[in-house]
Symmetry: C2
Subunit: 485 residues, 2 copies
């Protein structure tokens, strides 16, 4: 580990020191991906910053501890966008002028396939051992299945071992547990920015651990680890084996733990993108400090199922995480279902993955075509559920206030996006646009985006041009370029 | 809240100050109820005590933080009894000389009823909303069902409200979340002792909160709340409405939060015991500081299902807990199942509860009869799954070392019990004996207990006297007295 030097005079304006409320203000994305829903005039005068849980938070309630107030603040500050969305959710029949959600990174393209598979009779098995206290690391039958699954899909050089697997209710919990067992309060992980903003909360709320963007402008904080998200969120970037190895070697030199979050590993829909899991590498530089995370939330479009897993060769880390797993446990019945799902390779390989990739690609192609028609630069990497969109030219001034105003114009025009600030982006004007949704909703969403950008905001009445037909996805027809920008 | 005075010279030997390793040593019971499995010669020389997570723990690993080492220590120290049990679990056919578990508080009497109900086709419903990110407080349909369920079974004077319900994966998580949002690190809750030892970990591992036994011998620690378990664990005591009100008024005078854990509320199998939920009281003294916990782990014999719920009128506390619920979430599919179960009043009232209570009563009657035949005093209150047994006369000396040796003699003779130290009992020689198991296993377990106490330890070869027949439960035939001691 190492301690970052005191920051120099010119800290980037977009990544303020941790003592700034601005810093927090941009970090309310979470499992719900409530990004970019902060109130610009929100005040938390006595808040002393992420990384110091003993800070005295201003509280409107005498019933919570100071950290309780901070925890509640994260919830409240995320409410605007998400609550607005949930009070006025688009529904083709019941609420056609409701809000289209292009902000939350969920894959809504394959519920038909998933419902069919999960409704099969083999999914409902009730036996006493599933109803009793589990092994908190996860039932052995599931850990065995996870090890086989990851060995195959991560292309590991040797079979992965069930004893290195710890199963829990999602990667948010895993970030929380790892931060707690690896760091003292106030220590930090490095993370390449822009990054999935929810991680800020995951490592902070229980663990009191902060994140340091890799542009390294923070003050005297002891760095304990590095977080890599591969494929990256929000950029969609895929690390090459060489890049991965560089990161791992760097981490080893500095005795840093590396947490590799691979929740989008099976959502690479462009074969040419050439994804490599860190578990495919021959000879990890520092296996005792390399911890891999995967979940079904993204790759199997089931964020509500709450299944995630850790793979680490470090037995102490696995045990310490397991010790916290009594707070992150998942039902024995769900463990059984997940084992059934993961072992059904025929369905995964012949039904789910090909269809899912085809649908992701079609949806991406459609949105990319729309963006191109609007003359909007973007990153689209052939992986993940989102496109990183450059709307800088639509800001009258290059400020986050203007970015926020644009975000709100989108919301007022009934389309929810995520703004760059929620990902700690340095430059105002970037947005993440989620495309993994049905053609009909995508079409409407893109119309509403276009209206805002062309200064003609008004909610369309579900126009005939957005028919509820899957063919709508295919309209631009062409191949997706790996990147426009 | 108030600050306890510095302790007087004569602290009870059995409830040492928090800086003692002895204190920790006795607190490794957990969700797995790994009570009484410590190694007596275990050393953790630099451990600075529960309540101070910045303490430097002795660690055999340079990869964990100091709190990570403490967290791992809780796991490791719990291993002896539980690991021994799991490596040699009794099975009527496959391992008849394996260990009988009379230590873990699980109800194993009704798996047949539960399996039948949970296997019905209405339990497997897969729809998109269940697979997407949930409302972290719990799906509304489930919170509505919980509110109706608690209104009915707690006999609330007015209908309880869904907006006061937060659903999560078990009461262990709820203790963890409440400790974190109500207390600063190092603050404390009061708890009447002896108490269910696992709570020590639940409030400490993430929250850094300690427990203070009500004999009030701890040092200068700020007390923020009071924990009541009703029916009590391990005593089986039931608080009368008057006692409950006294506790609540006391708490109000001192501005203490009260967490009322009612996980055994439907496991009162003696009608004469007259149970009253705190939610049945007209006009709670301090509703903003009264937080009620319930789960299906005990009352529905499903500790592996991971379903628990908070009921509080304090909106700030509910929100702050909800904010942590992303780390304690349960699958949408399980939420659906739980709603189905809780709304099936016909099954609950006409099938499950009467049968469950009859079986609990028969099992209790049998074990109570055996204890009486042995001349062993005990508490058996007609509620819960356990009997609090006085084995003081079997200790050559009144020390916890002797208690430990007796516990190990039981384990060596293939029966796992929980010793009083794991519950912070002041006097050595008390044991908790779980009776909620099938007649055949109870009979064998009691034989092994008897052998140890009569100095004739040897594992029986599944003697004919313990036939695998439910009628075995009935052999002592008589009524259970509410209490012998």
């Amino acid at each position: 580990m190492f301690t970052l030097p005191q920051k120099e005079s010119k800290a980037p304006t977009t990544c303020p020191g941790p003592a700034s409320t601005q810093d927090l203000d941009s970090n309310h994305g979470d499992g719900l991906e409530r990004e970019c829903s902060r109130k610009p005039d929100w005040k938390l005068p006595e808040f002393c910053g992420v990384g110091d849980p003993t800070a005295t938070a201003s509280s409107d309630s005498s019933h919570l501890s100071s950290r309780g107030s901070i925890i509640k603040w994260f919830w409240d500050s995320a409410e605007e966008g998400y609550r607005t969305y949930h009070m006025d959710e688009y529904d083709e029949d019941k609420n056609p002028s409701g809000i289209i959600n292009m902000g939350t990174s969920e894959n809504k393209l394959c519920f038909d396939l998933l419902s069919r598979r999960l409704s099969q009779s083999d999914m409902l098995r009730v036996e006493p051992s599933l109803l009793q206290y589990p092994d908190w690391r996860g039932h052995l039958f599931l850990r065995e299945e996870v090890a086989r699954f990851l060995s195959f899909y991560c292309k590991s050089p040797a079979p992965l071992k069930p004893e290195n697997v710890v199963v829990l209710n999602g990667c948010a919990s895993l970030f929380s547990a790892l931060a707690t067992v690896l760091c003292e309060v106030g220590e930090a992980f490095l993370i390449p920015a822009p990054y999935y903003g929810a991680i800020t909360q995951h490592v902070y709320l229980y663990g009191g651990v902060r994140l340091v963007c890799v542009y390294l402008d923070s003050e005297g904080v002891k760095v304990k680890g590095l977080i890599l998200i591969n494929p990256q969120n929000p950029l969609g970037d895929i690390y090459s084996p060489g890049e991965l190895r560089d990161y791992l070697e760097f981490a080893k030199r500095h005795k840093l733990h590396v947490m590799v979050d691979e929740v989008y590993m099976l959502s690479v829909f462009e074969k040419s993108a050439g994804y490599h899991s860190v578990l495919s590498l021959e000879g990890l530089p520092d296996p005792q400090r390399t911890h891999v995370m995967w979940a079904t939330s993204k790759d199997f479009g089931m964020s509500g199922l709450r299944f995630g897993t850790l793979y680490t060769e470090n037995r102490d880390v696995a045990t310490a995480v397991a010790s916290l797993c009594r707070y992150h446990g998942l039902s024995g019945l769900v463990q059984y279902q997940m084992a059934q799902l993961l072992r059904d390779r025929d369905w995964i390989n012949q039904v789910y993955l090909p269809e899912n990739h085809a649908r992701l690609k079609a949806a991406h192609t459609y949105v990319a075509g729309e963006l191109r028609a609007l003359g909007i630069p973007f990153l689209g990497r052939g992986a993940g559920f989102f496109i990183w969109v450059d709307l800088r030219k639509y800001l009258p001034e290059a400020t986050f206030k203007e970015e926020m105003l644009l975000w709100r114009r989108f919301l007022d025009n009934k389309v929810l996006l995520s703004c760059g600030k929620a990902f700690q982006c340095k430059e105002p004007g970037w947005f993440r646009l989620v495309f993994s949704d049905k053609a009909h909703r995508l079409c409407l969403g893109m119309q509403r985006v276009r209206q805002v950008l062309e200064g003609k905001s008004q909610v369309p009445d579900d126009p005939a041009s957005c028919q509820s037909q899957e063919s709508g996805n295919q309209r631009s027809g062409g191949e997706t370029p790996p990147a426009v920008l």
